[in-house]
Amino acid sequence: MSHDKSSPDHLYHHFYDVDQQYETSKLGMWAFILTEVLTFGGLFVAYTIYRAWHPDMFFNANLLLDVNKGLINTIVLIASSLTMALAIWAIQLNKRKLSLLMLFITFLCALGFLGIKYVEYEHKFHLGQLPGEYYSYMGPEVVQQIHDQEKIDSYIASNNIFFDKETNRLYTMNNPHIFFSIYFIMTGLHGLHVAIGMGLIAWLMVLTARGRLHAGYYTHMEAVGIFWHLVDLIWIFLFPLFYLIG
């Protein structure tokens, strides 16, 4: 790489040289990543607590999620992570057009991810598989008839019991509304990150197209890249924790 050491345009006055400027930007980005890990961390703690308290709740409500959609989204997101990394690789070699193409593919993958998420959410909204008090779905996946007379007391203790007049039988369900509270807040916050990432990638495309970014100066792309890989990294945990249980 050929940094002009004298004083390139992109060197801000409060930095000693471009190297220090680059390292400082990355350090700042990693400090932000730390706050992101802890933000999602709080939600992972909520997940862990409820999973430990009510494993059955997760196993039952999990049946309402579509593994295939989750798997497709995982593949889409890993592919987008690869193209993001390749966009940085291309700009490092001063291949601006290739970099632009890679950013565009990344953008499309992000769009595809949100599209699939929209289909998933829309379906759940339609069926009433919603968080907390808005939950209304009473399908066979979550509602089980109680056959074991001895278990009735324990279901009564947890208050998850109701009586169907038509069949004249007792039924129970394992708090799927709580599962969906956790599901929607975690995937929703992650989806918000994907949307923000799309905006940032669009910004990178503009900067690259205008020639602002090149082999000597691509800090923006490196920083957004770190953010985008974090989005991928979080989904890597969300996918098995929500879609692959039970």
Binding site: H3, E133, G225, F239
Partner: protein, 138 residues
């Protein structure tokens, strides 16, 4: 600038992505095998491996100044403390006060759309008397 930024070879990126796709297939495959409580452990091990690969190669931590990796690993350590200390509370509440062992004991709102049972979950009609005797613990 004393040294140039590391430019990772294309082959490395493709290999990394290939590994991530492979591990995704493995974790889906493993979820269909009943390993009992080991299922979740295996899923988290695979996810952890994938996350490690993403951080090391895609996020360039391997070639960065180690201060960045230190921050990232530090965030994971704080997360472990967060989860660990919280669990020492939530997992052992029943040991001190059995009354608060079951945290979800209020009827969820959607159960109210089924006004078919009394407050204790017993049917409101004829079967009520049948169960009347054994609900004293509520």
């Amino acid at each position: 600038m004393s040294e140039e930024h590391h430019i990772t070879p294309l082959k490395t990126y493709l290999l990394v992505a290939g590994t991530l796709f492979f591990l995704t297939a493995v974790t889906v495959w493993a979820s269909y095998i009943d390993l009992g409580s080991f299922n979740i452990v295996l899923a988290l091990l695979i996810a952890g491996t994938k996350a490690g690969i993403v951080a090391t190669f895609f996020m360039h931590l391997l070639w960065d100044d180690k201060k960045n990796a230190t921050i990232f690993v530090g965030s994971l350590m704080f997360l472990a403390i967060f989860i660990g200390i919280t669990m020492t509370d939530t997992e052992f509440r029943g040991a001190v006060n059995p009354e608060i062992k079951d945290p979800i004991n209020k009827r969820a709102a959607f159960y109210n759309s089924l006004p078919l049972t009394d407050d204790h979950g017993y049917p409101l009609d004829k079967e009520k008397n049948h169960h009347e005797g054994d609900k004293d613990h509520h």
